[in-house]
Amino acid sequence: MSDAKKFLYVNRKAPYGTIYALESLEVVLIGAAFEQDVALAFLDDGVYQLFKGQETADLGMKNFSPTYKALGDYDVNKIYVEKESLDARGLTVDDLLPLTYEDEDDDWAEKSSIHVVSASELANIMDQSDVVLSF
């Protein structure tokens, strides 16, 4: 196969109220199996998907937030979170799940998969992607 394509999954919706957040995550996991260059972007209400402490027992819905923690094991470690979206919601990166991966090129050192970026940095990331899937 020729050069891997750069896939970007854009997440802009809050979890649980609609199915977009869960669907997006499931497509990422399926796509990761095909060894392409995968990155995730969380902006606007999408940043709420990574919020810590989700407990869904009273809602009768499955809490799928633990699945984000598995992304590192699937070599998905480029998770971009937009700063302006966090600011508009009064949030910081400390409100989010601590997503990490083990860097095989650095003695398996555990590193953060989350990169907080500005809107203009994210615009460039979007621009450089070969395939953009939006949810």
Binding site: K13, A14, P15, Y16, G17, T18, D44, D45, Y48, F51, K52, G53, Q54, E55, T56, A57, D58, L59, M61, N63, S65, A88, R89, G90
Partner: protein, 102 residues
């Protein structure tokens, strides 16, 4: 005649909450459910929508939807009452009609 207004989308995603606040008469109630619960949080760009109308309208937020999204009650604007599903039913029964803002 007072109505119960329900809002199920985030104010940072749709203008349903703002529109509901604009159209709710004095003494009526607004209940935030599903993704609408984000409208109850302090410190967001839209927190003033609820905070500003607090004197005129009774605000409620559905507890199970807060918990599902990991939001602790300490992050809620002062004056909003947290209700459970039973409380939701009580609110509907107490009001003359219910209007859903989607």
């Amino acid at each position: 005649m007072t109505q119960l207004h329900t809002v199920n989308k985030s104010p940072l995603d749709r203008n349903a909450l703002e529109s509901a606040v604009m159209h709710a008469t004095k003494g009526s109630a607004i209940l935030m459910i599903e993704d609408g619960i984000y409208g109850a949080m302090k410190g967001t760009a839209k927190s003033d929508v609820v905070a500003g109308a607090m004197g005129e309208i009774s605000f409620y937020v559905l507890g199970p939807d807060l918990k599902a999204r990991g939001i602790d009650e300490s992050k809620i604007i002062d004056g909003i009452k947290v209700v459970d599903y039973k409380g939701f039913v009580d609110l509907v029964a107490e009001h003359d009609a219910t209007q859903s803002w989607l």
